[in-house]
């Protein structure tokens, strides 16, 4: 019975797992909004055992072809990332993606309709009764009742301030006033969760208060000012099902409640070998967006931050801490300097940037 229990568990990595081919991944879409640019990233799949960053696919030629003759060429902005500046799109034209990789292979997507995404009606929020966070919602409607399927993504930006303010900095062994405010920063994060919704069960194409995200107060994002940019894309039914299926595939495997293995690919095929796997769904949709600001001052500082020391200039020039303020000492020409730890005074250490975003108000 002991044999039975420990059995014999061995690592199992046959060739199909360790040396699977690397396939093309197409991440992006054609933004048919007259003001927005389009971006497509090309990369390669990796073996599941690989721990390195995925390889990008540079030097490819990407073109979008319309069924009414439009030819739109993307340009490579940085290795593996391709961009197309906003242009005017024709009504009712269908598009497909045409990729030629540097090794000469060609890939084509199905023709997809350009979806006329209706504008977002509102992005709203509600504070939890116990002040533990805010729930953010999006609402939209299509008076023509044609869109029906939606996907949203969002970018979060939040302004935050450090408990201590550092007014001085040591430059070339000299005490100088800071030119840059490092106590106020803006952090930025793009969502990786797939958000889809549909009004297919309703008689009218209305989305009322679809949940976008929940921001807990403990995250610190709501302490000063928080902003969310919600982007909305109209989808075809096929694309809606693609995103739903993709959302179900997770990293985890092997537990009782895990989903069954799935292979979600998309609508792009290799021209010379239709059996070759290609991942990604090419779509053409007008991107709509709306920004929301939240100033609720929720959440507290977690760590105790107090000035650490008071030093004379000579010592202040040597310290590893930051210099907060100087104050003159009565009866002395030498001022003293109050110091504080960088983690209490430098907001950049928490990943933000001191540059105020241009949309910030």
């Amino acid at each position: 019975m002991s044999l039975l229990l420990h059995g014999c568990i061995e690592s199992f990595s046959p060739p199909e797992i360790t040396s699977a081919s690397s396939y093309l991944v197409v991440d992006g879409f054609l933004n048919t909004s007259s003001s927005g640019s389009s971006q497509i990233k090309l990369s390669r799949t990796q073996n599941v055992t690989d721990l390195t960053a995925p390889q990008v696919e540079p030097r490819a030629q990407i073109r979008v072809e319309g069924d009414k003759g439009s030819q739109l060429a993307f340009t490579e902005a940085q290795p593996g990332t391709y961009k197309l500046e906003p242009i005017a799109y024709r009504e009712g034209e269908k598009y497909r993606l045409h990729i030629r990789t540097s090794d000469g292979k060609e890939y084509l997507s199905d023709y997809v309709p350009a979806i006329q995404t209706p504008p977002i009606d509102s992005v709203t929020y509600r504070v939890q009764p116990d002040q533990s966070g805010v729930q953010i919602y999006v609402s939209t409607h299509d008076p023509l009742n044609t869109t029906r399927f939606y996907r949203w993504s969002f970018d979060e930006t939040w302004m935050y301030q450090m408990p201590l303010y550092s007014a001085f900095e040591v430059v070339n062994n000299e005490m100088k006033l800071r030119t840059e405010d490092i106590s106020t920063c803006w952090s930025h994060r793009s969502a990786s969760r797939i958000l889809v919704g549909s009004s297919i069960k309703l008689s009218e194409d209305i989305i009322q208060d679809a949940s976008v995200t929940y921001v807990p107060a403990s995250s610190g994002k709501l302490r000063v000012k928080y902003s969310i940019l919600v982007k909305q894309y109209g989808l075809s039914q096929e694309e809606y099902e693609y995103w739903t299926a993709l959302a179900k595939t997770t990293e985890s495997t092997g537990s009782l409640f895990d989903p069954q293995p799935a292979q979600v690919t998309g609508n792009i095929r290799c021209v010379s070998d239709p059996k070759e796997l290609v991942f990604g769904f090419f779509s053409a949709s007008k991107q709509q967006e709306q920004r929301l600001f939240i100033t609720e001052y929720l959440g507290r500082y977690v760590s105790a931050c107090e000035p650490t020391d008071t030093l004379a200039l000579a010592q202040a020039l040597q310290t590893l801490d930051l210099i907060l303020v100087e104050f003159p000492v009565p009866g002395s020409s030498q001022p003293l300097y109050i110091t504080g730890t960088a983690s209490c005074a430098d907001c950049r250490l928490e990943g933000g940037t001191t540059t105020k975003p241009e949309y910030w108000r």
Partner: protein, 917 residues
């Protein structure tokens, strides 16, 4: 004079032989008109006109009326007409004395070579036949039916039970037949037979597995009853008997039907040294399992849920212990097992692939017997005996592991924290009320509890109770009424992380009733008909926190109810001695019943949770959905030559209950599901063709069977959906159509020192989504292998008898590795990492092969001694090959790693002691 005549008659039984001797020299011819006169008068008239002198028993011939017109005929011709269609015969000697006897004529002179034979006073029994002459029941003439003097031509039916003379148990599947003309039948599950043969003097032969061949001399007057007791064949203890009648392989219409007796089962080496029913069934062609630790059988490309497993007519949902390491059947309780894989009789239904009909023994009706076995891991004990001698008996048996004690004694903490235990308990009572009524009651309980490394606990339980009443209306019509209730429960519990600790439970219960009739309407037509009904209650899952710290939100799936009913009729028609046809029709209906809340979906769109429209509630007992339809069962046998036959079979079957299994984990969790508004019943049909030949006096059986199967509405799973605690399971499944085909070759040697079988199977089992355009369709809407598609399969089972007490078995098994779906890569899309899998079942795990060896040492063969005992020494997986039984994947720190679990990855020696008091 009369006294002398009677004396003569009293000794006629000692004479054997059919030859009719009569003198032909110088016969006086007889004339006369004998009109409705008695035999004495006839004798007086004949003696008057000739010098013949008659010796006869006046009382016996008293009621034989004579109506005859003769003119100048020899006496032989006249007597021939007088005794036509009666049991009387005559002999005439040289002194013109006429001896009238019953059945056997008097031999009136010694054979010409008499002097050489006369000296032989006693010859030792050279053949079985001679030995059996000694037994009085065989030499006696049994009269069946009300006695008549004149037997008219035609057929009558004799019926009765064939029983073991020592234990009183019925002998199932015994062949009861006459040789000329060739007419035969087999006893049913209760040992009952019904044989329709020409009236008159017959020698009825009885052959059965492990029983001494015997015969009865019968004088069949009319329909009547004859119970037959047969002796166990002591010397044939190690004989492999696969089929009841030795030539049944060739002569029956049934194909793909295999019967294994407990003796055959006992020869196959198994993992823990214990006789194992399912493991033995797995050695037969066309039957596979997904893996070593897998629960189910896959019969001819069918899934594990497509097998109807009946134990004394009650359904068993999980036939194994510890996820398939042991069969859930105590070998000491078993009589035999019958597996139907292509021709499924109309009395069975509700599953697509096969029927595994397991019968327990009846307890010994004559004396108390205790038997048991002690192995390294399990122990078992069986007790049986009469309640009322020769009338009723009981049989109780229990089996358990003592592995917990073993685990605790190991100096390893992981083992100390593991438990693995199971037990099963059986009780069976049989009672013969009178000649026409018998009742049988069976109870069964099996329990499993399994905890791996102090983490997740698995427990499951099978229970049933069945009550059977057999009633004989008359010799040609009998019936069986069965009521049964069975249940199966499954629970998984996890305690590793207190805040995630949970209890997960499933259950299925069914109550069934069936009435079966067997009617011999005509010697060449046997009719089976009946009806059955099953009421199902399923509890598809409850999920509850296990401790107060647990943050699990309790959830429960709504119970399901359904009623499955069927009517059937089947005729076995012997068109002529060469052609035998069995045609059956079964009509089954399924009602899915409330209370239940059914989800509704947006019309015109796929059944997906994203398109859920709302719910509709149904009141208790309210009909939600109806399914039903006819099922056809046809089979025919044509004898090409005496030992070569061709069989054809066509079957359709319907199945209303489905098994959903999560295949991605090391220990599959199974949920049963009834057909409902969205999930249609599975429908299958199979066409099979086979050629059978017996060589060397039925010692060697050769068979080739080919089959092609269609399966409709088989459930497979959508990628990305979870099957457990899914309130909308219809959104997680895809409907597929399946096809399976294959060829099975088998050579079997049933007798001799070396016996066993060799089988090779080539088979495929493929599935394809019904909605081929759907993005969920696996393999882009093309056919893909099912989980249990293993094309090549080779098995050799051999048993060599070194002596009567010592035998060696050697087995070899090979099969193609099962298909699986590995994760073959990952990528980043829309800011997150995604894992992708290969197309479904496009890769295979390594091939499986295994060699086993076992030795059986019997105690001495004295019939009367205190205890009969035997030792079994076995080595399972002699070569120690690490055959993977499960392949699974786990994510650790963002890296997906594959693991293979081989349960028996080294040679496993076992020793078992069996006894019988």
């Amino acid at each position: 004079m009369s006294a002398f005549r009677i004396l003569l008659l009293s000794i006629f039984f000692i004479f054997q032989g059919q030859g009719l001797l009569a003198q032909t020299t110088a016969e006086k011819r007889i004339s006369g008109s004998f009109s409705d006169i008695r035999f004495q008068e006839f004798v007086r008239l004949v003696e008057a006109q000739s010098d013949y002198y008659f010796y006869y028993d006046a009382a016996q011939l008293d009621s034989l009326p004579i109506n005859l017109q003769v003119k100048d005929e020899p006496l032989r011709v006249v007597l021939g007409q007088v005794f036509k269609d009666t049991e009387f015969t005559y002999a005439i000697d040289q002194q013109r004395r006429v001896y009238i006897t019953k059945v056997t004529p008097i031999i009136t002179e010694l054979p010409s070579d008499a002097p050489t034979q006369e000296r032989v006073v006693y010859a030792p029994p050279g053949t079985d036949e001679q030995e059996q002459l000694l037994s009085t029941t065989e030499s006696k003439l049994h009269e069946v039916g009300p006695k008549r003097l004149r037997i008219t031509p035609g057929n009558s039916t004799m019926s009765g039970y064939v029983r073991n003379a020592v234990t009183g148990e019925p002998v199932i599947g015994a062949a009861v037949y006459i040789e000329s003309p060739q007419i035969g039948t087999t006893t049913d599950a209760l040992g009952y037979y019904s044989l329709t043969i020409p009236r008159g003097r017959q020698r009825v032969r009885i052959k059965s597995i492990g029983m001494r061949d015997t015969y009865r001399q019968v004088m069949l007057y009319a329909d009547g009853k004859l119970d037959i007791e047969v002796l166990e064949s002591v010397t044939a203890l190690k004989e492999i008997n696969i089929k009841a009648g030795q030539d049944a392989n060739v002569s029956e219409t049934k194909m793909g039907q295999i019967k294994l007796s407990i003796k055959t089962l006992k020869q196959i080496p198994t993992v823990m040294g214990e006789t194992d029913l399912l493991r033995t069934v797995l050695t037969l062609p066309g039957i596979k399992s997904v893996g070593e630790s897998s629960v189910g059988l896959n019969v001819r490309g069918g899934s594990a849920d497509q097998n109807l497993i009946l134990f004394n007519d009650a359904t068993i949902y999980n036939p194994s212990h510890l996820f398939g390491f042991f069969s859930a059947f105590n070998p000491d309780m078993l009589k035999d097992v019958e597996l139907y894989k292509s021709t499924i009789p109309a009395r069975f239904g509700g599953r697509l692939s096969s029927v595994l009909d397991i019968s327990s023994r009846d307890g010994n009706k004559k004396k108390m017997v205790a038997s048991g076995g002690i192995g390294l891991v399990t122990g078992r004990l069986t007790l049986e005996g009469p309640i009322v001698k020769d009338k009723s008996s009981f049989l109780i048996g229990g089996r358990s592991t003592y592995s917990n004690w073993l685990l605790k004694s190991l100096k390893n903490e992981t083992y100390n924290n593991s438990t693995a235990s199971f037990y099963d308990f059986n009780a069976h009572i049989s009672h013969e009320i009178n000649e026409k009524n018998s009742v049988y009651a069976t109870g069964y309980l099996s329990n499993d509890y399994f905890r791996l490394l102090a983490d997740t606990t698995y427990a499951y339980q099978n229970q049933f109770a069945s009550l059977k009443w057999k009633h004989t209306f008359h010799t040609r019509l009998y019936s069986t009424f069965t009521a049964a209730h069975s249940s199966y429960n499954y629970a998984v519990a996890s305690e590793r992380v207190p805040i995630h600790s949970f209890d997960l439970r499933f259950g299925v219960r069914q109550s069934s009733f069936k009435a079966e009739f067997n009617y011999l309407i005509h010697p060449r037509h046997t009719l089976d008909f009946g009806l059955s009904s099953i009421y199902y209650t399923l509890s598809p899952g409850t999920f509850t926190p296990r401790s107060s710290e647990s943050l699990i939100v309790p959830d429960a799936l709504e119970p399901e109810q359904g009623l499955e009913s069927a009517l059937y009729i089947e005729d076995r028609f012997e068109v002529n001695p060469k052609l035998l046809v069995t045609a059956g029709l079964r009509f089954s209906v399924f009602n899915y019943l409330g209370p239940k809340t059914i989800y509704t979906y947006v019309p015109g769109l796929p059944i997906e949770s994203i398109y859920t429209l709302g719910t509709e509630a149904y009141a208790p007992k309210k009909l939600i959905k109806n399914y039903g339809g006819p099922e056809y069962r046809l089979s025919a046998r044509y004898m090409l030559t005496g030992d070569l036959s061709l069989k054809v079979g066509y079957n359709t079957l319907r199945q209303y209950i489905h098994l959903l299994s999560n295949t991605m984990v090391a220990s599959p969790t199974d949920i049963w599901k009834l057909s409902d508004t969205y999930i249609k019943p599975q429908v299958g049909d199979q066409l099979a063709l086979g050629l059978y030949r017996n060589l060397r006096g039925n010692q060697i059986e050769l068979s080739v069977e080919g089959y092609y199967k269609n399966i409709r509405n088989f459930l497979d799973y959508k990628g990305g959906d979870s099957l457990i605690m899914n309130h909308q399971i219809e959104t997680a499944v895809i409907t597929t159509t399946g096809k399976a085909y294959g060829v099975e070759l088998m050579v079997k040697k049933g007798a001799g020192k070396l016996n066993g079988w060799v089988g090779y199977t080539y088979s495929r089992s493929l599935l394809r989504a019904v909605d081929r355009e759907s993005p969920d369709a696996p393999n882009a809407g093309d056919y893909y292998p099912s989980n249990y598609d293993k094309p090549h399969d080779f098995i050799a089972i051999s048993n060599y008898k070194l002596s009567h007490r010592f035998s060696v078995s050697f087995n070899f098994t090979y099969s193609t590795g099962r298909p699986y779906t590995p994760p073959i890569g990952k990528y980043i899309l829309d800011g997150a990492q995604r894992v992708y899998y290969a197309s479904r079942n496009q890769y295979r795990i390594p091939d499986y092969y295994r060699v086993d060896l076992s030795m059986n040492i019997e105690g001495n063969h004295k019939i009367r001694k205190l205890a009969h005992s035997s030792w079994t020494l076995a080595v399972y997986n002699l070569l120690g090959r690490k055959n993977p039984s499960s392949v699974y994947f786990q994510t650790q720190n963002g890296v997906v790693s594959g693991y293979k679990l081989s349960i028996f990855g080294q040679p496993i020696p076992t020793i078992t002691y069996n006894f019988r008091l």
